[in-house]
Amino acid sequence: MAKKVKIYSTPTCPWCIRVKQFLKENNIVFEDYDVSSDPAKAEEMVKKTGQMGVPVLDIEGEIIVGFDKEKIKASLGF
């Protein structure tokens, strides 16, 4: 069973675009929250991580801040 992946991102952030490209290339399905247009999700992201940088990945509770390929690979097992 594939892990559930959530992304908190903004439309303009280059690393958000790259992390989404990376997940798509690896056939990972994810839910994308645009924190620039969804203040509730923005607040949720800040609460979860204690910081305001995007992108943030929530992989079933494991929080990864930034486009950290190695951590993402390790978490998703590929």
């Binding site: 903004t10 952030c13 690393w15 958000c16 675009i17 790259r18 924190v35 800040v46 204690g50 305001m52």
Partner: protein, 302 residues
């Protein structure tokens, strides 16, 4: 320890172009880099890279990376170089993973990074309101108050993005007038939600878990501005600290000749980390290819 022909440090436009040339020359080489794309990855719109009338930074970086990977290049990604030193005819490269590599030649293409303010609170609140990339983090500050530190083109660019997002935008500029292009300056000065503080320096970033305010000094007078975001746009500094014995100019840029050679035989440099006259993606790419061809010629003689 294995001795490579060449180690390329950095994978921005200069480093990646060098890898393409090194691969095609069938050199035995390695790339060590913290990230892929460098500053290009942070650029929003690129309209002056020949062949593309318009491309975004992330898209151009993806094209660069695909090109590099098509040669099955050995890339150590996420590894920072801490020391480069020539000894006994070889160049030794140490990294933050505690590893050591050696090669007959190196190309330093480590680019530039954002200059920091060096005031109390800046490090503590990094990513907690303090940002060095308005394009990336700006949208999170919707309807909030923000300060932009700087008065040049990058500060004005950040301002033009933020006036559409934030409620109030303060510009903290340490000289009497804004610098930067007239068109951008006029737009900034005409915006209803911008206040400009000239002759002003930031003395501290204040907060409680997140940024709450900045303290500034305007011609001797201390002021506190309530802000949730601080965008630092005070220029760039070269990533050249780790190179030992190489001549650098006053800005810390590595001095190269027109063949990308430094004062140390076997150590070449390319792109924004060097004193090359202009800093452009296309120039960095061209410099990367020149540096690789120069390294190739050097290896043929040594």
């Amino acid at each position: 320890m294995q001795t490579y022909d060449l180690i390329i440090i950095g994978a921005g436009p200069a480093g990646i172009t060098a890898t393409v040339y090194a691969a095609r020359k069938k050199m035995d080489f390695l790339v060590i880099t913290g990230d892929i794309g460098g500053q290009t990855a942070w650029s929003s719109d690129i309209e002056n890279y020949t062949g593309y009338q318009f491309i975004s930074g992330p898209d151009l970086v993806q094209k660069f990376e695909e090109h590099m990977r098509s040669y099955h290049t050995n890339v150590k990604e996420g590894e920072g170089v801490t020391e480069v030193e020539k000894s006994a005819g070889l160049v030794l490269v140490k990294t933050d993973k505690g590893l050591e590599y050696q090669a007959k030649s190196v190309i330093i293409a480590s680019g530039k990074r954002s200059r920091e303010l060096n005031v109390p609170g800046e490090k503590e609140y990094r990513n907690k309101g303090v940002s060095y990339c308005a394009t990336c983090d700006g949208p999170i500050f919707s309807a909030k108050d923000v300060a932009i530190i700087g008065g040049g083109n990058s500060a004005l660019d950040a301002c033009l993005q933020l006036i559409r997002i934030a409620r109030q935008v303060y510009i903290i500029n340490n000289v009497p007038q804004l610098a930067g292009d007239a068109i951008m300056r006029q737009k900034v000065e005409a915006a209803a939600n911008v206040s400009i503080f000239n002759n002003s320096k930031v003395t501290a970033v204040l907060g409680d878990k997140m940024v709450k305010a900045i303290r500034i000094n305007q011609e001797g007078e201390e002021k506190t501005l309530s802000v949730q975001g601080v965008f630092v746009e005070i220029g760039l500094i070269p990533n050249s600290d780790f190179v030992k014995g190489v001549e650098k100019n006053a800005q810390g840029e590595i001095i190269i000749n027109n063949r990308n050679a430094t004062n140390i035989p076997g150590i070449f440099a390319a792109g924004d980390v060097t004193d090359v006259s202009e800093k452009q993606i296309i120039i960095a790419a061209g410099e990367g290819s020149k540096a690789c061809l120069s390294a190739f010629r050097y290896l043929a003689r040594h």
